[in-house]
Amino acid sequence: MSALHRTLQFAVFTLIEYLRSGRIMVEALATAAAFYLLFRRWTTPMAPEYFFSTVGLFTLGLTFYTGSAILALGDRPPGYVLLARRLGRGPYLLGLYTAILAVTWGVYGVICLLVAATNPVEGLDLRGWLLGTAPLLLNLALLAALLTLLSPIVLPTPWRLAVLALVALAFSGSLIGGPTMASLPVPVAVGLDVLRTVLSTPLLPAFTGFAISVSRDYSGVSIAIPVAQLFLVIGMLALAVYTFARRELIFSS
């Protein structure tokens, strides 16, 4: 059985456990609530920009929950029994990741079907839907990959805190800007600016991916955005698998 086959087998195994544990009810209720509050037929027709930005934010938020819950399922002592077999650490981690994607992409699919059936988005044809959907799904994959990389089974706590600190620094532009930056000594301000630029570059595909899913404007070099998203996903997953394969395996009790 190939690594891909084992990964898919383990993803199915994880999904069955996730469904039977009842945790999926959170996604089901959240989806129902989101549909009722955000996407049901209203007085004015729904615009594509509204649909993609709203569903994009909702599914991103949901990915935090689903990702944490499924990765917690993988961080339990029963995992030792699986990893004592020929499953392998790579397929184990990627199986968890695939299960996260299956749930979050599935939720997106359900919302799209409900919207199409009850409150179609005005002026959105299949092509437009595909153009908006691709970067949106890649953004979910990106967030799921980041959660996988930051899970306790992959990175030890000091490393997780370090990565989170770097992400926070990359996002610090909205908090430390303008007058605050001006009040800092010049070398510090320049250093911070450089750090932000360097650190936020890897996150650029995520932001621009969200923007392109809303605008569906692929003119110029925008076509490179989904490609960059894809490479970022692959890079993060490769780093996660590499680290997990070399880590000592101590699951949470």
């Binding site: 030792y80 004592a84 020929r86």
Partner: protein, 350 residues
């Protein structure tokens, strides 16, 4: 050939040293029991063998390989504390674990049916594991470990947390498993388990193998025995004392110290011939218990050069249980006579 070769393995969690130079070898086809108190590092050693943890120092070869993450298909593992995915039925669970061991199709179905039958769970194969008792869960644990017909079975605390009935079932099951010929490594702190199942035992204490011996050296009636009787007829105490200086009579108790099967047989025969009612026969210090306690108390420096630490010099190490006619057989005879007497009494009353 050695299936497990461990030499001077050290392992620490941050600043806490758990293994401090463990060395042991396990020969193919044998059952090795690793005894040790809770927290002595038994599970850590098994996890090192499975490649989950890396030793800080020392060498380790399992099934001839030091690439421990690559021997997984040839090793069966039964974890401690019944840690399984309980939202599956027994059959589903074994199906997935079989797939993860590269089994599939009819061969997998046949292996699942065989192992469920072997552990006595065929009738509940389609019940969810969450409804299983702890004893049943441990049996499914053994079934999953045997599914891929491993060369080596690593079992961590197989009867921990089970009630006496469950413990008995699991020990009986493991006794059947040992006849399959695979090498078995059991970590436990239950001496009965080791006594019944193991060919060789080692005591892990203070991060090292504090003592190690062949199990047959420790089997037998025990270091001393106290026989309790209803009452001794006049002259019987003297008769018994004349059998050996090891016999002492105090009231209703006859102490054989040190005990041997031959002496025990002679004393029981004398009591039987004298018509004395025997109320009990209790071994006082089992050799394995003494061996274990001495090791964990550090009462005797382990002789690591010979790899075999003998039991205490003052304890008599008897040979394996003797042929019929020794104490064991006589005791059974006495008990059956007693049962016969009790059965006949109500009839005579009537």
């Amino acid at each position: 050939m050695n299936v497990i070769e461990i030499e001077d393995v050290h392992k620490a969690y941050e600043d806490v040293a758990v293994l401090r130079g463990v060395s042991l070898n396990v020969t193919r086809g044998t059952v090795y029991g690793l005894l040790g108190p809770n927290g002595s590092g038994k599970t850590t050693l098994i996890h090192v063998m499975l490649g989950f943890l890396r030793p800080d120092r020392g060498t380790l070869r399992v099934l001839g390989s030091n690439q421990l993450q690559r021997i997984d298909g040839r090793v069966g593992y039964v974890p401690e504390r019944l840690r399984y995915h309980t939202r599956y039925t027994a059959r589903e669970y074994l199906h997935y674990l079989g797939r993860f061991s590269n089994l599939s199709g009819a061969a997998l179905s046949s292996r699942i049916n065989a192992e469920l039958g072997a552990v006595g769970l065929a009738a509940v194969a389609d019940r969810q594991l969450s409804t299983f008792s702890r004893g049943m869960l441990q049996r499914i644990g053994i079934a999953q470990a045997l599914l891929s017909e491993p060369e080596l079975l690593l079992i961590d605390e197989p009867t921990s947390g089970l009630d006496p009935g469950g413990q008995h079932d699991v020990i009986a099951l493991l006794d059947r498993v040992r006849t399959r010929g695979c090498t078995i490594f059991i970590a436990t702190h239950f001496l009965d388990e080791a006594e019944l199942l193991c060919d060789r035992i080692g005591v892990l204490h203070a991060g090292r193998i504090a003592a190690e011996t062949e199990m047959h050296m420790l089997r037998g009636p025990g270091g001393s025995v106290v026989i309790t009787v209803e009452a001794l007829p006049p002259g019987m105490a003297e008769t018994l004392a004349s059998l050996s200086p090891a016999v002492r009579c105090t009231g209703q108790e006859i102490t054989l110290a040190p005990n041997t099967p031959a002496l025990q047989a002679r004393v029981l025969r004398a009591l039987l011939d004298g018509g004395v009612a025997i109320l009990g026969l209790v071994p006082q210090h089992r050799p394995i218990e003494e061996f274990y306690l001495r090791a964990v108390r550090g009462e005797k420096a382990p002789d690591r050069t010979s790899q075999v630490v003998e039991p205490s010099p003052d304890a008599i190490v008897p040979p394996p249980p003797g042929p019929s006619g020794t104490g064991d057989t006589l005791l059974r005879e006495l008990l059956s006579r007693e049962e016969g007497r009790q059965r006949s009494e109500p009839e005579s009353d009537a």
